[in-house]
């Protein structure tokens, strides 16, 4: 059996000695995922709310599609985005391939169905009196919608937790459209994949540790903002 103790000790040493390469990877990871989430979340929540509240022909098919996309492999998203952004692709002129922006777009696409599906479910579970009460008290359409979202904030925050968890730890899309370039597009998951393939377990463990800690830290921060929410 492989000895895990030594690489783990080295991992802690790397982390607490402030290894610049390691911290750069962590920074890139956070920057890409947080930016992708900040940009996509308002649109996705609005789309989820719309799907939950506005009847239109084909809504059911769209809901099934969104729920189906929850299981889409990130590597397939990466492949499609690669084809679109590569020189020969329709958006090749934008020269986004192998940039952090391409990774942000990819992560935004991966997060979108997660956010929509969870928001949809949260809004559908809202008490039907919420909207009527808001409207009857004089709230306009947007104000009433925001009130409903605020009432189901526990569910909406769960949407954000899930989406962030998925994009922060995904490796397939980031590797394909980011290219794993050190100092530019190498994030925690792609770095773990690379270091492990090279046999550099200490770096891999350190990064894995940071990945888990950061994911937990972000979730705790969001949970703090969430307040007591739906907890009884």
């Amino acid at each position: 059996m492989m000895d895990l103790l030594e690489p783990a000790q080295q991992a802690f040493h790397l982390l607490f000695a402030g290894d610049p390469e390691l911290w750069q990877i962590i920074f890139i990871s956070l920057r890409v995922s947080v930016t992708a989430m900040l940009v996509i979340t308002p649109f996705a929540i609005a789309a989820g709310f719309f799907l939950a509240t506005v009847p239109f022909p084909g809504r059911r098919a769209l809901v099934i599609l969104v729920q189906g996309l929850l299981a889409s492999p990130t590597v397939v998203v990466g492949l499609l985005l690669y084809l679109l952004l590569s020189r020969a692709g329709p958006f090749g002129d934008w020269r986004l391939l192998f940039t952090p922006e391409a990774m942000m777009i990819g992560q935004g696409i991966i997060a979108f169905p997660v956010l929509v599906a969870f928001t949809l479910s949260a809004v559908q579970s809202a008490d039907p009196r919420t909207h009527d009460t808001a409207v009857s008290l004089g709230a306009g359409t947007t104000h009433a919608a925001l009130t409903t979202l605020l009432e189901v904030r526990f569910g909406v925050m769960a949407a954000i937790f899930n989406a962030f968890g998925r994009v922060f730890s995904e490796v397939g899309c980031s590797l394909m459209v980011g290219g794993n370039i050190l100092g530019l597009t190498r994030n925690i998951p792609t770095a773990i994949a690379l270091e492990t393939s090279k046999g550099e377990f200490a770096q891999g463990i350190a990064l894995g540790f940071v990945l888990m800690l950061t994911a937990l830290g972000v979730n705790y921060a969001l949970a703090f903002m969430q307040g007591e929410g739906g907890l009884k």
Partner: protein, 227 residues
């Protein structure tokens, strides 16, 4: 203004093939209080919800202060004049103060004025001592009083109260009736859907019954007693 505050004609509402409302005409006047009685499921709540623009229906004519109103495109200004209070009021997951201030915020009332009005409304409803309690932990009667304060603070021209005393214990019912009685003494118009004998027999209450979809004026109980 001498005309009615609200006049609605030819109200028809069906659920599937079942016609539940077929009201020829309903007229409400400012400063008056009305009660609609009728069996469960007869359409009292639906009628109130239609007036509040929360439910669609076929309506031949809907006039509010003489102005024509479309249910499909219910004017936002009218939502500010007509407040519907649900049978089981929903309180937002914020403080009681936040609940009562909600409509004032929606109207853009400045913070200082809002605070004064909210305090007055809380005193009026006797819920000032409950401000530290999360709304979800209030009893049914307390929720109803907060909901009445939340409506009263907006000073609408028409209050629509849906079964305000249903499922309340004796003390909560007494407190709620007392509040409604005070509400009815104001210059606003109050329309209540209920079965509550005490509410139905409040002085100066105009009574109607809803049966088989139609509204029928009732004999004034107080006159009967006086006679």
């Amino acid at each position: 203004m001498n005309g009615p505050l609200l006049r609605i004609e030819g109200v028809r509402k069906s659920y599937g093939s079942r016609l539940i409302l077929d009201v020829d005409c309903l007229e409400l006047h400012a400063g008056e209080s009305y009660v609609v009685t009728g069996d469960n499921g007869v359409g009292k709540s639906t009628l109130l919800r239609i007036l509040a623009g929360l439910e669609s229906a076929q309506v031949a004519k809907y006039l509010f202060e003489g102005y024509s109103v479309s249910l499909e495109n219910y004017p936002r200004e009218l939502r500010r004049e007509i407040i519907y209070v649900h049978q089981h009021p929903y309180l937002f997951k914020t403080s009681i103060t936040g609940n009562i201030a909600y409509g004032l915020k929606a109207r853009g009332v400045p913070k200082l004025q809002r605070e004064t009005l909210v305090k007055e409304a809380m005193d009026w409803a006797g819920v000032a001592n409950l401000d530290h309690v999360p709304p979800q932990k209030l009893s049914g009667g307390e929720k109803q009083r907060v909901a009445l304060a939340r409506a009263k603070v907006l000073n609408p021209k028409l209050f629509l109260l849906d079964e305000p005393t249903a499922n309340l214990d004796a003390e909560a019912r007494r407190q709620t009736i007392e509040l409604i009685q005070r509400l009815c003494l104001g210059n606003n118009c109050v329309l209540i859907a209920c079965h509550d004998y005490e509410l139905i027999n409040l002085p100066h209450m105009r009574r109607m019954a809803l049966a088989e979809g139609q509204l029928v004026p009732q004999v004034e109980a107080s006159q009967e007693q006086a006679g």
